[in-house]
């Protein structure tokens, strides 16, 4: 029975999202507890799956009972359960926050639609993490694209519609690229399953070199658009800053990462290693990631809106994940992967804290944040922890991932990237620390009349995430142990 759990959790999420629009009138109040309990169940399942995979190793699941080249296969290995744990835990915590915050950003009538889209987004991301089949990957990619646009555009705001339209167009173009790549791979290998494609590709290189090259570049462009790697990040600042705060937290923390994890799987499990000697894909990703880290930090420095600044900072941080992939060393990859979890924790916490500030004080501009630490000490304390973690101060989890990335770069004899990491930390310090310092020690400005109290239900998730940032800064052991097995490919 326990081997069925991965597919059951996807089916449960889909079933819950189908049931959600049926909750009408009296049952509408049940929507939130229902959503939370489903998310909690999926989180529990993901923890159990980690235990299962640790104890009995990776296993595959044949949907419909058909063996791989004919049917759809889910492959549950260490990386998959790690991603599933990250996705479900952050989604659960963010939803607890969103339960209160959403009511002041979107209308009550569309709340159940929001829960539906949210559950579908989580289901599709888990599907992307678990699947072992190229076409299933594409199908879940579509679901995640549309639902991610949905949770942005649901806000009654002209700016939001515009941003989500831009996101939709670019993201669908990315999906189209991925579909074309899948078609090409199918044409030259005759399989869709990752393992079988990987088996066939080495022979196909000699016969169809341009097809493989084109498929690879289409995958890279498609997934880079979706995960906002540097020159294709154009949609991200608008979309992530105008969305409701819980959506921003999920989008910035999880949605752009899952595509990075997907391309990691494709690069290391599907495409043969000989290909990378001929085509320097990893070098290309590495250059782009360096540009992303620098450009994201520099753009973030000149922003005035706090959520916009956080969005630009996400562009820099996704660069670290891609840097880990591009360096192609065990340790660097470990750093990049652990950064997925660490950045998900701290960035969603920062977005939620920013949402709390907007909720309570109605401030979006960074300069107006002066002295707000006195009024909202817990929120700004959490924000400060997140900022320290972004900079990479030891004792926070941001340090752990940067430390491993830097060590991995040194292992490979490429100290240039250590310099980039240090420089980026410095830039992060330049734009994050003044906010914290001004908030606590700046000249106090008169509080505006619309100041609202912070509800405990919104504050607690932020504090939980802040505690997570500290906890995994001191005890990264379990996560690192899990990932060390995940990168033995």
């Amino acid at each position: 029975m326990s081997l069925h759990l991965p597919v059951i959790s996807i089916a449960l999420l889909l079933l819950a999202s189908f049931v959600m629009p049926l909750l009408r009138r009296g049952a509408r109040a049940a929507a939130l507890p229902f959503t939370l309990s489903v998310l909690g169940a999926v989180f529990t399942v993901s923890l159990y799956l980690i235990y299962l995979v640790e104890s009995r190793g990776a296993f595959s699941y044949h949907v419909g009972g058909w063996p791989p080249p004919w049917g759809v296969e889910l492959y549950i290995d260490h990386l998959a359960v790690y991603m599933m744990m990250v996705l479900s835990s952050i989604c659960l915590v963010v939803m607890v926050y969103g339960a209160r915050d959403l009511y002041h950003e979107i209308r009550a009538e569309v709340m159940s639609w929001y829960y539906t889209l949210y559950l579908l987004l989580l289901a599709s991301m888990i599907g992307i993490a678990l699947t072992n089949d190229l076409f299933t990957l594409f199908v879940f990619l579509e679901i995640s694209t549309i639902s991610a646009c949905g949770i942005i555009s649901i806000k009654k705001d002209r700016e939001c519609i515009e941003a989500s339209f831009k996101y939709l167009i670019l993201s669908v173009l990315g999906s189209g690229c991925v579909l074309l790549g899948v078609a090409m791979i199918y044409m030259i290998t005759g399989y869709l399953n990752y393992d079988f494609v990987a088996q066939e590709l080495p022979q196909a290189i000699a016969e169809y070199p341009y097809n493989i090259l084109m498929a690879l570049s289409l995958f890279i462009v498609g997934f880079s658009v979706k995960s906002a790697l540097f020159p294709l990040h154009i949609w991200l600042p608008d979309a992530h800053s105008s969305a409701p705060s819980p959506s921003s937290a999920v989008l910035s923390g999880l949605v752009i990462k899952i595509y990075a994890a997907a391309i990691l799987r494709l690069l290391f499990r599907v495409f043969p290693a000989e290909l990378f000697e001929v085509v320097p894909v990893l070098d290309i990703l590495l250059f782009l990631s360096v540009l992303a880290v620098m450009a994201g930090s520099i753009f973030a420095m000149v922003q005035e809106d706090i959520k916009r600044m956080l969005a630009y900072s996400s562009i820099a941080q996704i660069g670290f994940v891609f840097m880990g992939i591009g360096l192609f060393g065990n340790r660097a990859l470990l750093g990049g992967l652990v950064h997925i979890f660490n950045h998900a924790l701290m960035k969603s916490m920062l977005f939620l804290a920013a949402g709390l500030i907007i909720y309570a004080a109605g401030i979006r501009n960074i300069r107006d944040l002066r002295g707000i630490g006195v009024r909202m000490p817990l929120t700004m304390g959490a924000f400060a922890i997140g900022a320290f973690s972004m900079v990479g101060i030891p004792g926070t989890n941001g340090f752990i991932s940067k430390w491993h990335l830097a060590l991995g770069a040194l292992d490979l004899g490429r100290p240039f990237f250590v310099a980039i990491i240090l420089l980026s930390s410095l830039l992060n310090g330049i734009y994050y620390l003044p906010i914290v310092i001004n908030a606590f020690f700046g000249v106090k400005i008169e509080p505006r009349s619309e100041h609202r109290d912070v509800p405990g239900m919104m504050l607690v998730p932020v504090l939980i995430l802040a505690a997570g940032v500290i906890f995994f800064g001191f005890y990264p052991g379990p996560i690192l142990a899990l990932l060390e097995q995940a990168i033995v490919l």
Partner: protein, 147 residues
């Protein structure tokens, strides 16, 4: 579109289109077609009806409430059939290996799960088409008269 010619032609044509849509759904496992194609035909017949008469006339035949029940119902039906395979001691969405297969190949009632899944997909697609069209074109009281 208050044209008597269009209304009369549509009144004659719509039942045939619907029967054809149902045929494509039910014969999905025997001849070309299936849930998606048949559902699209069924949905476009309803759109045609609503266009040629009045939006309210279409809404009377298939209300908002019913349409959304059908929509969720199609998906729930699909997943429940998948879970049925699980309950019978096999994998998710298993058909014959779980003992769902019945009938001889070539007969209408054969293929076990395939027939049921096509039905669910057809209902889902048809109601999706109609709901999308209805929600896009309602409002402003223009009814079916625009264009």
């Amino acid at each position: 579109m208050k044209d008597i010619v269009i209304r009369t032609v549509c009144r004659v044509i719509v039942p045939f289109v619907q029967v054809y849509g149902l045929y494509v759904i039910f014969h999905g496992h025997l001849s070309p077609g299936g849930g998606f194609a048949g559902g699209a035909i069924l949905g476009s017949s309803m759109v045609l009806f609503a266009l040629s008469f009045h939006l309210e006339a279409g809404a009377q035949k298939l209300g908002h409430e019913t349409s959304s029940y059908l929509e969720s119902g199609g998906g729930i039906w699909y997943i429940l059939i998948g879970l049925l395979g699980l309950a019978l001691g096999s994998n998710f969405l298993t058909n014959r290996a779980a003992g769902l297969g019945f009938g001889l190949p070539g007969q209408l009632f054969s293929g076990g799960m395939i027939f049921l899944l096509s039905l669910g997909i057809g209902v889902k697609v048809a109601s999706t088409m109609f709901t999308l069209f209805y929600n896009l074109s309602e409002e402003e009281g223009s009814g079916g008269d625009h264009q």
